[in-house]
């Protein structure tokens, strides 16, 4: 098990010009990314759906890699999207899951069957052609160039420490600096997409 922030630092070296949907890694990623117009830090638009959103983006922009840092809680809310992604086979989609075994933003309550779910096996069973699971940062860091060098859809799950939030919502530090509309608008301008 390792810290999300340390993984993101390692990933940053291999990002290239990928679009990044940082999901639950967002609060760390926005502080270290040097291509913010290619980032989509979204926070919590709805309960679940990050994978579906990032997948839709990957379908729309097939010439550019789309990297998602999903979480196991978000994924559990819409597990069926694994089937859709596997069916469509977006070659530019890289699906990382930060598995902290809990709902960290609501106080750290365990997700269903928290310690016993094999997400890589679920993805494999859904039809992802390439899946990986890591518990050690060194192993993941060493494998990253190979993982990102393979055609998608690629699924990578990793065990990370939980950054548990227990403060009331209105007392938490707001890490998102842009609205959802601004985030999308900046991306579209960067990619030359007419709004």
């Amino acid at each position: 098990m390792f810290h999300t922030e340390d993984f993101l630092k390692a990933f940053k070296l291999h990002r290239g010009d990928a679009i990044v949907v940082p999901g639950r890694g967002g609060k760390h990623w926005v502080k270290m990314s040097d291509q913010p117009d290619l980032d989509l830090p979204l926070g919590d638009p709805a309960m679940g759906g990050h994978a579906a959103f990032a997948f839709g983006l990957a379908l729309a922009q097939p010439q550019r890699r789309v990297v998602l840092f999903d979480s196991e809680g978000d994924l559990q809310m819409g597990l069926g999207i694994l089937l859709t992604i596997a069916e469509q086979k977006p070659a530019n989609f890289y699906h990382f899951v930060l598995d902290n075994e809990c709902y960290a933003t609501t106080g750290g309550q365990p997700v269903p069957n928290a310690r016993n779910v094999d997400y890589a096996l679920l993805a494999k069973g859904a039809g992802y052609p390439r899946t990986f699971a890591f518990t050690e940062l060194n192993a993941l860091t060493a494998a990253l160039p190979d993982i990102l060098g393979q055609p998608g859809p690629v699924f990578v799950t990793m065990k990370v420490h939980a950054d548990v939030e227990n403060k009331p919502i209105n007392e938490r530090v707001r890490w998102r600096t842009k609205s959802w509309i601004q985030v999308v608008s900046d991306l579209q301008r960067k990619l030359g997409i007419a709004a």
Partner: protein, 173 residues
């Protein structure tokens, strides 16, 4: 049941509307009346069909497609529309996605008589609760309402619904 009315909504009409409005992706989950439309869409090279196993996921897929510059439409049954509430709120309203829902009205009866299926009873109150405008389409003569829905979605940057009230009229060929 077919009441013998000649006023049917043909799948070709719906497909024509999708093409007319530049739809690139149909994010969908089949309902009981859309198989013939499915076959037409499948044969249409300008459309990519993206099937989802639960309708709420269609909203976040559509939001991603729209963010990437594509024109999705969401084709679902009214039951699934109602399942999608929080995703509509967060992913479609939140991101101002100008998407049209094409909604099969399970339980709909053109003559207003109640059916055993409660799905259509709750559909309009659901849409009203979410302040989603909707247009009822029952026959080819109503096709212009689909155009109105597409134009309104684009202008308002909000989801707009087309309710296909043809449940018992052979939309499935």
């Amino acid at each position: 049941m077919n009441d013998g009315s000649p006023a049917h909504l043909s799948p070709q009409t719906v497909l024509g509307q999708l093409k007319q409005h530049g739809v690139t992706h149909v994010v969908w989950l089949p309902d009981s009346e859309t198989n013939w439309l499915y076959l037409l869409m499948q044969a249409e090279p300008s459309l990519t069909l993206v099937s989802v196993p639960r309708e709420g996921l269609a909203c976040s897929v559509a939001a991603g497609l729209a963010a990437g510059g594509k024109v999705p439409v969401i084709l679902v049954q009214n039951t699934g529309l109602m399942e999608s509430g929080d995703s509509i709120r967060g992913w479609l309203f939140g991101f101002e996605v100008p998407v049209v829902f094409i909604v099969g009205m399970r339980g709909w009866n053109r003559h207003g008589a109640p059916t055993a299926d409660t799905a259509s009873v709750y559909t309009e109150p659901f849409l009203n609760a979410f302040r989603i405008n909707y247009y009822l389409v029952e026959s080819d003569a109503d096709a212009q309402r689909i155009t109105v829905a597409f134009n309104e979605a684009k202008k308002t940057k909000r989801p707009v619904a087309v309710l296909v009230g043809d449940e018992y009229h052979g939309f499935n060929r």
